[in-house]
Amino acid sequence: MKEWNEKAIEIKDLNVYYNKRRKSIFEKKGKTRALNNVSLDVYKGEVLGLVGESGSGKSTLARAIMGINKDYTGSIVKTDEYPQMIFQDPYGSLNPARTVHWILKESLKVDRKRKWTDEEMEDRIRTVCEQVELPEDYVNRYPSQLSGGQRQRVSIALSLMQSPKILIADEPVSALDVTIQAQILELLDHLHKKLDLSILFISHDLRVVYNLCDHVAIMKDGQIVEYGVTDQIYKSPTADYTKTLLKSAGIV
C-alpha cells in the first residue's frame, strides 16, 4: 500500500451556511447550516471517495472547496489555486448555446495561469479530447447533440483543460447507464494515474467507490461519520450509518 503524507487539500472545522428564504424584505436574514464542523484531508495523488445519502452535504463541500459557496467558517487550504470540478449534473454544467469546441477554447482564453496562442489552444483541445476519448468531430456539436456519456466526457475534458492538480468530481457517473459508467470510471482512474491528479470523488454508489478510491469518507447530515482506508471501512465499518449503507447496497 502507498504512503500518503503530502496534502493537496486540507479542510479544518468547516461550517457552510445557506441563506434561508426570506418571507419579506423586512425580515432578518436567516441561515441554515449545511455542513457541520467538517475536517478532511485530500492527499496528493489519491482518489478520496466521499459517500453519503442524498442531501448530506457532499456537493456543498465540493462547492465550498471550489469557492462557489462563499458563506463558511473554518479553513480550506488548497495547494492548487485553481482546482477544477466536474459538476453533478452533466446537462446543466455545459453551456447549451455553445459548441463543445467553443466551451473548451473559452477555458483556455480565460486561463489565469498563462496566455495561450491560437495554435496552442487548438493543440491542447486535441490532446485533451484524445485523453477523454472524445472523437474529433464531436467538438463541433452542441451539448444537446451528445449522449449522456459523451457529455460527461466533455465535462471531464473541460475540467482538465487548464491542467489542474486537483479535480473534484461530483457524482460524475450516477446519471449514466451501467456500461457507460464503467467506461468513465476507467477513464478517471487512468487519468488520475497518468497525470498525478488528486481527486475528490463524490458518489453514493458504494460499489463504484470501492473500486476507485484510496480513502473513503462517509457523510451524513452535514458531518463526516467515518473516514479511513477503503478496504478497512468496507471490511469493518464502525459507524451505524456506514453499516446501514453497506447493508442496503447488499454488500454485507
Binding site: R21, K23, S24, I25
Partner: protein, 314 residues
C-alpha cells in the same frame, strides 16, 4: 397572507414612485396652467393673481406634497375646464369599467372553450383555420377592427347606431347594448392571444407525464382534460388575463375614440390635448392603481391555483 401584505407594501412603494414620476412629468414641462385657464386674452396681472391662487409659485416639493395628500384624501384636484376631478372621474369611470369588464367576459367565455377545443383537435382542419385566423386578427390594429365592425354591424347590418352612445344613467340596457361592439373590438386581439396561449398550454400539459398517470387510473379523456390538465394549463393564462384586463382599460383609449364613447380614455385624450393636467394626472394614477390591484388579485388567484408558487417564487 403574509405574502399579500408584503405585496401590498411593495405596491404602495411602487405607487409612490409612480406618483413622483407622474407629478414631475406634468409639472416640469413647459406650459403654464394659468395661461391655459385664462386663455390668450388675459392680462399679466390676472395671470399672476391666478398663479398665486393656485399655489403655482410654491416650490415643487410643496406642490407635490399638497397634491399627494389631497390624493390620499380623495381630492383629485380641480380640472381647468370641468371643476372637481373626482366628480368627473366618478361620472366617467363606470363607462370604461363596464367596457373593460364586458371585453373581459367576452375574452373569457370565447377564448377558453376555443383554446381547449383547438388543443383537443390539434392538427385538424378547424384547428389550423383557427390558428391562422388567430394570427391574422392579431395583425390588425385594434382601431381598424373597430372601424370595420362599425362598417359591417353599424352601417350595413344596422345592429347598432354608430356614435349613438347612450348614457348609463339614462338607459342602462341601452348603454350595455351600445358597448357590445366596442367591447368586441377591444376583446378581439386579447381573444386571439388568449386562444393561442391556452391552446399551447393545454397541448404542453397534455404531453406531461401526469396525464399518463391519470389515464392509468382509468380516467376518460374528458376526465383527464377537465380534472387534471385544465387547472395546470390555466396557470400561464391567468397572468395573461390579468394583464389583459389592465390592457383593456388602456385599450379603451383608442376604442372609445373609434366608437365615440365618453369614458376615461376619451377624457384622458381630451385632457391631454387641452393640457388639463390635473385630470391627466388623476387618470394616470388611477390606471396605475388599477393595474397594480389587478396584479395583486392575479397573484392571489395564482396562489390559489398553483400550490407550488409559495416555494418557487422568491
Amino acid at each position: 397572507m403574509k405574502y399579500i401584505l408584503k405585496k401590498a407594501g411593495m405596491m404602495i412603494l411602487t405607487l409612490f414612485v409612480v406618483s413622483i414620476l407622474v407629478f414631475l412629468a406634468f409639472n416640469l414641462i413647459p406650459g403654464d396652467p394659468a395661461t391655459r385657464i385664462l386663455g390668450t386674452e388675459a392680462t399679466q396681472n390676472q395671470l399672476a393673481m391666478l398663479r398665486q391662487e393656485m399655489g403655482l409659485n410654491d416650490p415643487i416639493y410643496v406642490r407635490y406634497f399638497r397634491w399627494v395628500t389631497g390624493f390620499i384624501q380623495g381630492d383629485l384636484g380641480t380640472s381647468y375646464s370641468y371643476g372637481s376631478v373626482s366628480a368627473l372621474i366618478m361620472d366617467k369611470i363606470p363607462i370604461t369599467i363596464w367596457l373593460a369588464v364586458m371585453a373581459f367576459l367576452l375574452m373569457f367565455f370565447i377564448s377558453i372553450p376555443l383554446g381547449i377545443f383547438t388543443a383537443r383537435h390539434e392538427g385538424s382542419v378547424i384547428d389550423k383555420f383557427v390558428v391562422v385566423m388567430d394570427q391574422i386578427i392579431m395583425a390588425i390594429p385594434p382601431f381598424f377592427s373597430g372601424i370595420i365592425l362599425t362598417l359591417i354591424f353599424g352601417l350595413s347590418l344596422k345592429l347598432f347606431v354608430p356614435g349613438g352612445f347612450i348614457s348609463y344613467k339614462k338607459d342602462f340596457w341601452g348603454f350595455i347594448g351600445y358597448l357590445v361592439f366596442p367591447a368586441i373590438a377591444i376583446a378581439l386581439p386579447k381573444i386571439t392571444m388568449c386562444v393561442k396561449l391556452l391552446r399551447g398550454s393545454v397541448i404542453e400539459e397534455i404531453s406531461k407525464d401526469y396525464t399518463r398517470t391519470a389515464y392509468s387510473r382509468g380516467n376518460t379523456t374528458r376526465g383527464v382534460l377537465y380534472r387534471h390538465v385544465l387547472k395546470n394549463a390555466m396557470i400561464p393564462v391567468i397572468t395573461f388575463m390579468g394583464m389583459a384586463l389592465a390592457d383593456m382599460v388602456s385599450g379603451s383609449i383608442v376604442i372609445e375614440q373609434v366608437f365615440n364613447i365618453p369614458g376615461i380614455g376619451r377624457m384622458l385624450l381630451s385632457s391631454i390635448n387641452n393640457r388639463d393636467y390635473p385630470v391627466v394626472e388623476a387618470i394616470i394614477m388611477g390606471i396605475a392603481i388599477l393595474v397594480m390591484v389587478v396584479n395583486l388579485i392575479v397573484d392571489i388567484i395564482y396562489r390559489l391555483v398553483d400550490p407550488r408558487i409559495e416555494t418557487i417564487n422568491d
